[in-house]
């Protein structure tokens, strides 16, 4: 599992000091070139009437270059150590593997339990609850995209387009036709799925990179339409006043209009804005769990297996009589449908949407969650979403440097788990009883 680095591979035993130093030197040089514009200069005001001047911060540059240099040496040495001790690493991996399955299952249930109790835990405040909602939204989107990317192997860089379709479907339907959230939810899903099919038909004959580019373009098209179709979407102004969801017809309002009982009146509670947040939390939890159960189930059905088979080898699929186009279309539209659900939820939670929320970076983040989680792994996606979104939010005080934390998180996962956090795949059906007592296959 040694990570391939770009440097020249030194001989297996012993550390090649010159090459390590050379490598670290090059890295430091790159860091130097990068840090000069990043840290090196700063615009400062010279006081009133004297305009602005440049402050030079060479000390900061020196510190960052030095830390990159030393860090690179440490990383190389550590990797070298790992590579020269393959036996130990292998046996170590084996012992982990042995307990991985029960551990993972236990972890998944524990996490689900934690998710259920989350709003009631003593330390959870409004901020943590909001963050949990955000993370769960990404988990759901990740699970939805996982159907397209992880199972069917179709690299979709425009997933956020379907998210936008769902959000705008709900907002427009609710604002113009007075439909409730629960009425709009299936409609929004259906619209998004329809868009998935519309996009899918012409482009699914493309593969790999080409498909990625076309979906990327599609994502931008949707965003630009939303931006420019002012009569319907209000363009860059966005849609505001989107109705909030109600609890089986009971709104979450302090002073409901006449003749309407609000949630806190019905249950005889003191009004608190947190009630709505908790409700929203459970809505997204439910939506996410539905996505999860749907995926887990459909993986064991012929269409789910056909998706995975398509990912593995499309030509072999054709030779077995599988209609590749239709199968891909189902994956695309079902993935889009879940994005549509997620989008409706986003719209109702924010109460305001604008094309700003549906930029390419969202697609990239969702894709990063799927890839870093380990393609196809449901639990891995949860971990990746918690890690990436949680980390970015956690470092919010660092302002724009928080994206550095995001990047560092990605790099860390790619260095330690190049195939994703949980890349293990269990067969969907077994012939010879439960795992563990199967005969280990000899590698060719």
């Amino acid at each position: 599992m040694a990570v391939e680095t770009s440097d020249t591979a030194p001989p297996p035993s012993g550390l090649d000091v010159t090459s390590i130093l050379k490598d670290a030197g090059i890295t430091a040089l790159i860091a130097f070139a990068l840090t000069i514009p990043l840290f090196g200069f700063r615009l400062v005001s010279l006081g009133t009437g004297q305009g602005i001047g440049l402050e030079q911060r060479w000390g900061l540059v020196a510190i960052s270059v030095a830390s990159v240099f030393l860090g690179r040496i440490a990383l190389t040495v550590w990797q070298e150590k790992r590579r020269t001790m393959p036996r130990e690493a292998a046996s170590h991996g084996w012992s982990i593997k042995r307990y991985a399955r029960p551990l993972l299952a236990g972890g998944a249930y524990a996490l689900a339990g934690l998710a259920f109790c989350w709003p009631w835990l003593p330390f959870v405040d409004r901020w943590l609850l909001d963050m949990a909602i955000l993370v769960l939204t990404y988990v759901m989107l990740g699970w939805g995209l996982n159907i397209v990317v992880g199972l069917a192997g179709l690299l979709d860089l425009g997933y956020v387009a379907f998210y936008a379709v769902g959000a705008y479907s709900y907002a427009l339907l609710a604002l113009n036709f007075d439909l409730t959230f629960w009425q709009c939810l299936p409609l929004a899903g259906a619209f998004a799925a329809f868009f998935g099919i519309v996009l899918g038909f012409p482009v699914l004959r493309l593969r790999g990179d080409y498909l990625a580019i076309v979906t990327l373009g599609f994502g931008e098209i949707i965003r630009i339409i939303l931006l420019n179709w002012y009569e319907v979407t209000k363009g860059p102004d966005g849609l505001s006043g989107i109705p909030r969801p109600s609890f089986f017809g009971l709104p979450f309002k302090r002073n409901p209009p006449d003749g309407v009982t609000s949630f806190h009146q019905f249950f005889g509670l003191e009004y608190s804005s947190i009630q709505r947040i908790i409700f929203l939390y459970y809505v997204i939890l439910l939506l996410a769990l539905i996505t999860n159960f749907f995926t887990l189930r459909i993986r064991k059905l012929p269409v789910g297996r056909a998706w995975e088979a398509l990912r593995e080898d499309e030509i072999a699929c054709r030779s077995l009589g599988i209609n590749a186009r239709n199968t891909k279309l189902t994956a695309f539209s079902i993935g889009a449908m879940f994005a549509g659900f997620g989008g409706s939820f986003f719209a109702t939670r924010q109460g305001f949407i604008s094309p700003e929320s549906f930029t390419f970076i969202e697609s990239a983040i969702i894709l990063a969650i799927v890839v870093l989680g380990g393609m196809g792994s449901q639990f891995g996606i949860v971990l990746a979403a918690v890690f990436l979104i949680g980390m970015t939010e956690f470092f919010r005080e660092l302002e724009h440097f928080r994206m550095l934390a995001f990047g560092a998180g990605m790099v860390a996962i790619m260095v330690w788990r190049p195939r994703g956090l949980l890349a293990h795949r269990d067969p969907t059906i077994r012939l010879n009883g439960p795992p563990g007592d199967e005969i280990k296959g000899s590698s060719p």
Binding site: F294, R297, I298, L301, P302, V303, R305, A306, E308, A309, E312, D313, I315, A316, C317, R318, S319, L320, G321, I322, N323, A324, T330, R425, P427, T428, I429, R430, L431, N432, P435, E438, I439, K440, G441, S442, S443, P444
Partner: protein
Amino acid sequence: MTDQSWEIPSGAAALLTVEHLTMRFGGLVAVDDVSFAAGTGEITAIIGPNGAGKTTVFNCLTGFYSPSVGRLLLRRDDRNFLLERMEGYRIAQKAGVARTFQNIRLFPQMSVLENLLVAQHNVLMRASGMTVLGLLGFASYRRAERAAVEKARYWLDQVGLTALADIDAGNLPYGAQRKLEIARAMCTGPALLCLDEPAAGLNPTESLELNELLLFIRNEHKIGILLIEHDMSVVMGISDHIIVLDYGRKISDGTPEHVRNDPTVIRAYLGEDEDEELPPEVMADLAINGEGDAPAT
């Protein structure tokens, strides 16, 4: 010059009739006016030197290429299918032509059993009510899946991979992967099984096992087998009917006995006599192009 008859030496009923099949890639004629027939319950081998167009014939039959000229007629249960007009996946689905590939194409990250279930996709898809009934957990789907697993188990037993059913197909040894690909093709319930060099890379023991497997499929399941093979011990040992291609043309067609003694075949494989003069146009070609090998098919 070329023998254009399409008769089956044993007189068996024709399952597949190929008439005047021609496949051109730009100026290159990979298959040139080839006609033959393959009988049901028989093993028909297509042999020939490298680049003779054998795999191209297969790709035309299984819908990966659409032939430039020719008719490919498959008779199954008294229904006729014109393969050259069908979409690739329908040839496998409706006409029942299954194939294996020269370079193995399994689903490496799926388990052995899953590979065999994917092969039964169309049956299972119908049973799962296009997924809806399956999602709701209908008993009829569960029954169908159990039947599919039993079918898979039957073929796993035949190729001796039952104990390895739950490991990833990509982790199987090479010989086992070859067998699994045949089992997977058989799980589609084909009328015609097209095997593209199934013995390539097998050791002599595995090669023998392959012979037995193919004979078993022929004798027990009474389907037609079309076989591309270089390993003459396989070809001569089990074929009922052999077709020889060279430079895209059919140069011989008949029983193994007939083909073995056919001077044109011997010449194609072993070359002309040294002192025999090349025709003038060939000499001219050689002078211009240096060499004009057809791409490996």
